[in-house]
């Protein structure tokens, strides 16, 4: 039913896809979605009837807004690498902060604004993919849901005569588990140990994500069935050569 409506829509809009979405134009192709999420949030926060910080000093709202927006913008997978690089640069100082807090009671907030933003962004990034740290059954359910969302986008793209990315293509369903293996690996397994330790929740996150990667590799068939695909074959190693941006599409 849904696929049908997409097709009908596509017929009506022949050629429309040559132009960009206004959101992408507004934000110059830089994290358009994340900018929209943050803007929606801020717009709600600023509504007089919903502004739950209006009784406090204006600086509180200003800071909360600034931190929240910055953290949301960190969730863009495209800038994952640059954020990780920035984070790696902040780690030594962050570790000193952690050490000072553990030794003395007062918080030693000698972190610069950039460093604070980086830390908050890392927390939200980890939380965004937090299902990797959940029991495998739940994680698999999330992956199935995400897969379906990708496929629906792939259906739209096909209806428009575009070529969807492999992991968005129902016909190439075996890509998904392998991309999840890569995702788990990219987010957790490959992080240097000292960086993992820097965040309080990192070790269990890491362990579960690592286990998730293993289980995905071994459970390709199960995931395939969960995603309602026609083919029930599929081998992770076969997709190694596919260079798509699967791991970071969240």
């Amino acid at each position: 039913m849904r696929a049908l409506s997409v097709r009908v829509c596509a017929r009506r809009c022949q050629g429309a896809h040559a132009v960009q979405d206004p959101i992408a134009v507004t934000y110059h192709n830089t994290s358009p979605l994340e900018n929209v999420h943050a803007a929606v949030l801020v717009r709600l926060m600023l509504q007089p009837s919903l502004n739950f910080l209006s009784h406090l000093a204006p600086d509180v709202l200003k800071n909360v807004r600034k931190y929240a927006v910055s953290a949301i913008l960190h969730t863009d997978p495209v800038s994952h690498r640059s954020h990780m690089d920035a984070w790696a640069g902040h780690v030594p100082k962050w570790q000193r902060t952690v050490a000072s807090v553990q030794s003395t009671v007062p918080v030693g907030t000698d972190l610069s604004t950039d460093e604070i933003h980086s830390v908050l962004g890392m927390v939200l990034k980890c939380a965004d993919v937090g299902h990797m740290a959940q029991p495998f059954e739940q994680h698999r359910h999330w992956v199935a849901q995400l897969t379906e969302e990708f496929y629906q986008q792939g259906d739209r793209e096909k209806a428009l005569g575009m070529a969807p990315l492999p992991f968005m293509d129902r016909a190439k369903a075996q890509c998904v588990p392998s991309s999840q293996v890569r995702a788990c690996t990219a987010y957790a397994v490959s992080q240097p140990r000292r960086e993992r330790r820097a965040l309080g929740m990192w070790p269990p996150f890491h362990e579960n994500a690592k286990r998730g990667a293993d289980q995905h590799a071994g459970g390709v068939h199960v995931v395939l069935r969960a995603a309602h695909v026609r083919r029930d074959g599929g081998d992770v190693s076969r997709d190694e050569g596919n260079d798509h941006r699967g791991p970071l599409q969240l």
Binding site: L41, V107, G130, W142, E148, L160, M162
Partner: protein, 362 residues
Amino acid sequence: MSSELLTRPQPSMGGACPAASDAQRVAALLDFSGEALCVFDFQSLTLVFCNNPAARLIQGRQGTTQPGALSMYDLTALWLGSYSERVVDDMLARFQHGHPYIWEPRAACGSAVCSFSAQYYKGGSLDGILVKAKGLDSDAAGAPQPCCIHISSALGHVHSMTRPPRAAAPGLSPRPEPSTALRPALVELAAPSSSHAVATPSMLRTRRKSFLSKVSATPNVWSVLADPTVHAMLERSADLGGWDAFDFDHVTLHNPLTAYTLWALRASGLMRHFNLPEDKVVAFLATLEHRYSDNPYHNRVHAADVTRSVHYMLSAGMHKYLDPEQRLALYIGAAGHDAEHGGLSNTYLCATNVRARCACGR
């Protein structure tokens, strides 16, 4: 028939046309045309119908409104409750005869307030209301005005529905497309009805059934949190393996984000630290939650799950290193981090304009 329901209000008392920014802000909330059915589960609610988007704050059970011009007439509101057929018929009859508990136009303060209290009908809880409003868009002078309907309950501000003026006022740019991410089912249901006759109870029940299948109920979040099952799940959520977002979605009647974030703000002590007004926080969260579409993945369950992950990380030790403002920003940021996600990736949005041109987007 429906026009007899109400005392026709006095002509406009010269209520100021709201500032363009106000009107636009409200117009961005939700398109409203003709009829909408909102489903609740609580003991009482207050409806305020007015044409002044600035008059939007409703507190408690008694509707309080700011002055504004009243330009509304011919309005019908009907109850839908989880009652036996006889009781529903009885309620409808009472309502149509202008039962004092049910309908109270307040022309003097520039708005009309309609308040219900299900406690008058013992044994049942009010869980739905159908609102039909006509002629809400012109004042006595016939000038088009933006108008809106506020529905609030003990939950706080639940819904705000508005219809932009038919002819764009100067300085008010016409709104190009309704945001596709906004409660699609509600918009769908707001299709103009063929006749203005009052719907029969059986018609309403049929509509309610189909509506309930599309839109989750908006429960009283405090009663949800008081539920022992929910409480136990929340207490376990700080453990690594003690959380199932899908179960939580189920037990909170598909309002996981509001319920979880409110609880987390309480549990983390931020509510007390900032002395946050709980009703406003709930109103904010409920509005935010409705900004999530029913995508397979990027939906309100995901948002609640991410908020829980943030809570887990903070309570596992991170809270020591961050100041309260930063922690609050993380909770709020997590709750809103995928608001109005259309289920399409950045790559897609950068490559196409299909979503904007067709009304087929979610």
